[in-house]
Amino acid sequence: MRTYIIRRVAQMIPVFLGIMFILFLLLQLAPGGPSNMLMDPRMTVEQKEELAEKYGENKPFYEKFFNWIVDAAQGNFGNSITHKKPVTAVINDFIGNTFLLSSLSLLVGLLIGVPLGIVSATRQYSAVDYAATVFALIGVSLPAFFFALLLLKAFAVDLALFPIFGLADPLLRKADWLTRTLDKAHHLVLPVTVLGMTQAASFMRYTRSSMLEVIRQDYVRTARAKGLKEKVVIYKHAFRNAMIPIITLLGFSIPGLLSGALMTETIFSLPGLGKASVEAVSQRNFPLVLGINAMLSIVTLFAALIADLLYAAADPRIRYD
């Protein structure tokens, strides 16, 4: 097990370097540099040149890449150009919110999608099944932004039940813990609904097909033959096995979740990484772009590893060495 983890982590290194290398190559090809964005119109051509030099824009690309890797290995990701502070600090400002949004949505997705998937698999071709399948189909087919816009219009604008933007009321920032939590929850209802429903839809589809497969297995029949209650058969015997592929999906859904968060953050004006990265790209804030991507890649790589390990935990047949 330990050697497996070591090997997997070791394999991540070339993959990570590969990702960053391609990213560097892309940014190298990008027209415009960070200095463009800061230019005060009254700056002279030489002054601009000097700034570009300071931001290292004129160094050859391999040298930049190499320096970045060396610095990053020491935990130094450089300074965000627009924020004038370390990239890690900027990421730190936003990651919490993105994490909150994503994890809540994931939770909602699991809590809705998985039970729905089970019910619809165990009652295949029943009305419940059809309803759930249609729900899931709509969930995966409705563009998230479209859904978000509709919700925003209906619940935030027309009915004014929820705030239109933001994550917290700044005036409540000194209020007690409970008030602040409730306030945050109030702000998160719509975004989490959007992201959570998309998640729920895909979890539902996945659970359903996984359950359908498992229900037909011999050991489920064995469990029934033992005289167990149908509930026990489904939720203990069948679901424990159906869960195994869902765990893999969980691992793979992390990167997608972050992308989804990006759309949602944009529409609901949430202070998250998604917005920060879009902005960083358009401002040619390369250190921040690199930092965010490095972090996301690492998260993705580790999510895959953790999914594999959880997989092994859930399925005693799998032993890594």
């Binding site: 394999q11 070339p14 993959v15 990570f16 590969g18 990702i19 391609i22 990213l23 892309l26 940014l27 090809l29 990008a30 027209p31 415009g32 189909l137 709509i138 995966v140 087919s141 409705l142 563009p143 998230a144 932004f145 479209f146 816009l149 925003l152 219009k153 604008v157 097909s209 359908l212 497969e213 990167p255 997608g256 972050l258 992308s259 990006l262 759309m263 944009t266 529409i267 990265s277 879009v278 790209v281 358009s282 772009v289 965010i292 991507n293 996301l296 890649s297 993705t300 790589l301 895959a304």
Partner: protein, 300 residues
């Protein structure tokens, strides 16, 4: 001997109705799913409309009708006009051409890359497999949307850029499906029989392995079209995909980012929103039905 010649001739001249190939069987299964059949017709209708409407429409892509700017749907403009007076009905279907065309191109390209690399990796294994899989890891771990944003916002955002970007980012899934299938097919006894019969590598790959993987690829491709339409429209919605003046379903819906537009100009965004939703849903339904038809395990 003569009956035998008869049979051969009969077979060569016209189909023997006792013969039911795999695909005929899939098609039969597929037809049982009424919803999927309806979806197929809807998609066909949309595709057809996207081809025909721009050809017969009295309005062209650029033409502005300044007198009727931002008009609600009327007899002369079936879906109204936009803020500079272009006919939105025409633009909806031109947009459909682009959106569908892009989706088709992306899926085709990614399938080609994925199939070739996946086949090589699965068939030859060893170092070839190792290298291809590591590369695919790299692409799989790219933060998809963000890389798309980097690329399309940095480089000129023509359809070609978008197609290349999306297909280069998404081939690994296909490659993996193909590879996994080939790895398991390789274990089947008929592949061993090929070896024993001395069938060439080329024939083994393209006559024995690929056709068996094809079914999965087609399922994936159908679902991939749905996914690509969603990605493209999301990017366009963010203002990062294909951009004006080329209409796509995604950038037609973009004005709706302003609440004012949502409230006042429903015809700007509603039709393309519905078009996206309908197409994506139908593709998903078709994909699901195909999967059920292809995979006997899921059969009713």
């Amino acid at each position: 001997m003569s009956t035998r010649t008869d049979i051969v001739n009969r077979r060569l001249l016209k189909k023997d109705k006792n013969v039911e190939s795999f695909w005929a069987n899939v098609f039969k299964q597929f037809k049982r799913n009424k919803l999927a059949v309806v979806s197929t017709y809807i998609v066909l209708a949309i595709v057809l409309a996207c081809i025909i409407v721009p050809m017969v429409s009295p309005y062209s892509l650029e033409q502005t009708d300044t007198a009727n700017r931002a008009q609600a749907p009327s007899r002369s403009h079936w879906l109204g006009t936009d803020n500079i007076g272009r006919d939105l009905f025409t633009r909806l279907f031109i947009g459909g051409r682009i959106s569908l065309g892009i989706a088709l191109a992306v899926v085709t390209l990614e399938c080609i890359i994925g199939i070739v690399l996946g086949t090589l990796a699965g068939y030859y294994g060893g170092i070839v497999d190792g290298i291809i899989m590591r590369i695919s890891d790299i692409f799989l771990c790219f933060p998809f949307l963000i890389i798309c944003i980097v690329i399309v916002s940095i480089f000129s955002s023509g359809p070609a850029t978008l197609i290349l970007t999306l297909s280069i980012l998404s081939w690994p899934s296909i490659a993996r499906i193909v590879r996994a299938q080939i790895l398991s097919l390789r274990e089947l006894e008929y592949m061993e029989a090929c070896e024993a019969l001395g069938i060439s590598d080329f024939k083994r790959m393209f006559r024995h392995l690929l056709p068996n993987v094809m079914a999965y690829i087609i399922v994936y491709a159908t679902l991939g079209i749905a996914a690509t339409i969603l990605t493209e429209t999301s990017l366009s919605f963010l203002g990062l995909g294909i951009r004006f003046p080329i209409p796509t379903w995604g950038n037609l819906i973009q004005p709706a980012r302003e609440l004012v537009v949502i409230q006042k100009y429903w015809w700007y965004w509603m039709p393309s929103g519905i078009a996206i939703f309908l197409t994506v849903m139908c593709c998903n339904i078709i994909g699901d039905a195909l999967r059920d038809a292809v995979d006997p395990k899921m059969k009713r």
